[in-house]
């Protein structure tokens, strides 16, 4: 199960979706993170605790893709945000 950290705020610049760190998170990740549409969707879903299977199922439905491909996409995204420290431990 996984959930995103709460100390990032999503903002928009000219329709580009970005994450801004707040609080002490600025010390850890002092910068901006850009989100493409799929990453933005996953970020919204991860406001609640989710399993990889739940995320993949939501992706498959939202983007009309196979469950297998959705699982691969979600895994890539989750690996990346885990590397950046954006998930709750």
């Amino acid at each position: 199960m996984m959930k995103r950290k709460s100390d990032f705020i999503r903002v928009n610049i000219a329709d580009e979706k970005l994450l801004v760190p707040v609080g002490t998170q600025v010390m850890v990740l002092n910068g901006l993170i850009t989100l493409n549409n799929t990453a933005d969707c996953a970020w919204e879903l991860l406001a609640k605790e989710r399993s990889l299977d739940e995320l993949a199922a939501a992706f498959a439905e939202r983007f009309d893709i196979t469950l297998e491909r959705a699982r691969a996409d979600v895994q890539t995204f989750v690996d990346e945000i885990a590397r950046l420290g954006l998930l709750e431990p």
Binding site: I9, R10, V11, N12, I13, A14, E16, L18, V20, V22, G23, T24, V26, M27, N30, L32, T34
Partner: protein, 369 residues
Amino acid sequence: MTAASDALPTDYGPLVRELQHRAATRRQPISGTFELTERCNLACRMCYVRHAPGDAERRAKELSATEWLELARQAQDNGMVFLLLTGGEVFLRPDFFEIYSKLTRLGFIITLFTNGTLITDEVAKRLAESPPSRTEITLYGATASTYEAITGVTGSFARCCAGIEALVKHHVPLGLKTTITRQNVGELDAMCLMAHNWGLPFSSGWLLGKRRDGAPSEVVDCRLSASECVTIEATAQSPAAAWAEFALQEASLWHDRNFNCQAGKTSFVVDPRGEMNACLDMSFPAARPLEIGFHDAWVQVQRFVESVPPMSPICLACDVRVIYCPRCPAWSYLETSTFTEPIPYLCEIARARQKRYQTQASEIERNAR
């Protein structure tokens, strides 16, 4: 603060520059400057804004913490992402943390400009609880005698150094910069070394504007000559080829405009009285966001920028205008009380830049063709 030209928000890199250009086409006000006070505990000779720290009349007219926060919420609803907090000296406000702490929870990329002299260990510790993306402190010299000859306040050099050390100790993101004047130019290398020894980035600026309220100042006595400015620019900031490439890119974007910057396109300033202006150098159009709403005030700023008359025929005909000249309507106003007329000092700088960079610029243009 000493020079409005130094008071531009930090360069966030190519991604943000690209986002700025895209935001400009939509007139999204992504970058705001909140000038919390014009009062300062230092009395720098070349400052464009400074008033006495105990100026009760000015203090009474400053927006309250509640008003700044209401303004921030409205600005955020209209698309503000980057927020610069500046003064005067922001830490003169006893309610600074009442404003700052709430702003940090709203999700802005915050930059904080300060002279550092009021930053105690306790202040640094509080900042570290929710740090700005960047703090910038201006050094006015590498020795107490030079620093204090500029700031006019005995003991200010030691307090500034203590403030820097407190921020370093608490790992608050920090950069140092200097406003180069005739009085401290001899200590430029030593200031750079100080920053290096603290492990901090260092930058410098030399374009000193007159006071925006038109009051007398010593700025002209503090300015370097045009050739000194360009020599420093060429050695201290970037190699000539990099400068020329960047200048050409910017010129291709903004050459047909009076304001060749983000003013009124993506950026705005709110002064301590709550008046929204195009930039820190000017008090126009003095829109009142807390009375008419942020959106309508922002529209007034855009209209003001678009309505400024074209530059003078002398400037339009000038062969060094597009790439090399830093003139803008705000500078014309500060120096000539018009938005349009050339400024001899900037003309000299433009000519000195041409002399320095034209080989590189011509080469880049030839390659582009």
